[in-house]
């Protein structure tokens, strides 16, 4: 049997943290991209599009992320689509992230006075121009703080990828626990590493929130 020193445990955990970070980044990029498209769809006056977005949000906010991962990983491969744990994790985290971001951004856009839309129409701006030059610049200011705050949820969400066998921080934690039989030490370290990833983002989000509130 191989002996694991404290250094070995920490080194392995830190190595796995890279995958947690990479998965979080991929999910966040995927999630924001999809959420942008969905937000644009929601703002159109097409009732079908808006209903579709509402159903999307309802579906992915109303079901557990773990279940979405199982569906993407075990479900899709049973249907004949080969998908890796990495792919399934990114896919389900993208659904999850985008469903929440659409709702967050909806709130931000709704705080802008309706007169802005009407004024833009009076000035003869098209829908896309209104979005690009009037709404987005203001909405981004409001949306930054809650979006950064939500990125913490994305990082925490990646921990579930361990259940479908993707080797990231939590998975390496359980593997090390099986090898060392020192669950208290291992899971304390795992939790601490997650904390060190998430806490700065939480603080930054709070800071942004304050900054925005002052300038108003």
């Amino acid at each position: 049997m191989i002996e694991f020193s404290n250094y070995d445990i920490l080194r392995n955990l830190l190595f796995a943290t890279q995958w947690t970070i990479l998965l979080s980044l991929a999910a966040f990029v995927g999630g924001t991209t999809v959420a942008l498209a969905l937000t644009a769809m929601r703002l159109t006056r097409n009732a079908i599009m808006r209903t579709l977005v509402r159903m999307y949000v309802e579906l992915f906010q109303g079901t557990p992320l773990l279940m979405q991962m199982f569906l993407c990983f075990f479900g899709l491969s049973m249907l004949g689509y080969e998908i890796s744990a990495w792919g399934a994790a990114i896919l389900s985290l993208t659904f999850f992230t985008s469903a929440f971001l659409v709702e967050i951004w909806r709130g931000c856009i709704d705080t802008l006075p309706k007169g802005q839309w009407e004024a833009s129409r009076c000035l003869g701006l098209s829908f896309l121009q209104t979005l690009r030059f009037i709404i987005l610049p203001q909405a981004i200011r409001v949306a930054t703080a809650p979006t950064v705050g939500f990125s913490v949820q994305v990082i925490k969400g990646t921990a579930l990828a361990s259940v479908i066998g993707f080797v990231e921080l939590t998975k390496v934690g359980t593997m090390l626990n099986n090898a060392t039989f020192e669950p208290f030490k291992v899971f304390t370290l795992v939790a601490l590493i997650y904390f060190m990833l998430c806490y700065p983002l939480s603080l930054y989000s709070k800071h942004l929130e304050k900054k925005f509130n002052v300038s108003r």
Binding site: E58, L59, Q61, G62, T63, P64, L65, L66, M67, Q68, F70, L71, F74, G75, L76, S77, M78, L79, V152, I155, K156, G157, T158, A159, L160, S162, V163, T170, G173, T174, N177, E182, P183, F184, V186, F187, T188, V190, A191, Y194, F195, C198, Y199, S202
Partner: protein, 220 residues
């Protein structure tokens, strides 16, 4: 092809899993909100030490994944002599998790009560406990009720993870069924829809409850 009929014979497995999830959700909602209320009161009106302790608790829980908290409680605590059954560990983990989030939410509600109300209560001779229960809590909870209830639903969905320490909840049922008949997609899809139904049902229940709890509005 999809074969949902293969799932029918396992309907009792799904049902008992669903019941476990509902049972844990109801229990942890009450315990978690109670914990959150206590911590939020301590954070808002308590002494410095109390405020610090609550802050550390809230930040620690909010910045670590639920699955790690669960593993820490279930696998980690026995190492220092605290043995818990999977069910107990899940209940504690869910309560602590909801407690931390609801502390933040409820504290926002407490902070929104204008100082004048508290001072008026003092002038009228109400003691601190009376001020809390009769003046502060009801309007504070009314303000944050939607946020609090959606957090309860998020925790219910998060409880899917407890199947990993072999609590026989709805997700555990899905895993069991798909390992028996290899209908993974169907099994997980049905389970996802059951969770969706449960979250919609919970939202209706919370809305109905909210209308009754805050009915004093219409009396005025």
């Amino acid at each position: 092809m999809l074969y949902f009929s293969d799932l029918l014979q396992y309907s009792d497995v799904f049902f008992s899993g669903l019941m476990t999830t509902v049972e844990l959700t109801v229990l942890t909602t009450f315990l978690g909100v109670a914990l959150g209320t206590t911590c939020a009161t301590l954070r808002q009106y308590g002494n410095l030490a109390g405020q610090r302790i609550v802050s550390v608790y809230v930040e620690l829980i909010r910045n670590t994944p639920f699955i790690v908290q669960l593993f820490f409680i279930f696998f980690g605590l026995p190492a220092i002599g605290i043995m818990l059954s999977p069910w107990e560990a899940s209940m504690i983990a869910l309560t602590i998790n909801l407690g931390a989030y609801s502390t933040e939410i409820i504290r926002a509600g407490l902070a929104s009560i204008s100082k004048g109300q508290v001072e008026a209560a003092k002038v009228l001779g109400l003691n601190f406990r009376q001020t809390l229960t009769r003046v502060i809590f009801i309007p504070a909870f009314e303000k944050i009720y939607p946020a609090l209830t959606s957090q309860c639903i998020i925790v219910m969905l998060g409880s899917a993870v407890i199947s990993q320490i072999s609590v026989q909840d709805l997700t555990y049922a899905a895993n069991l069924v798909q390992s028996r008949n290899f209908r993974a997609f169907e099994s997980y899809l049905v389970t996802a829809l059951l969770y969706l139904g449960l979250s919609i049902l919970l939202r209706f229940a919370f809305n109905a409850l909210g209308k009754r709890l805050f009915a004093y509005r219409s009396v005025q």
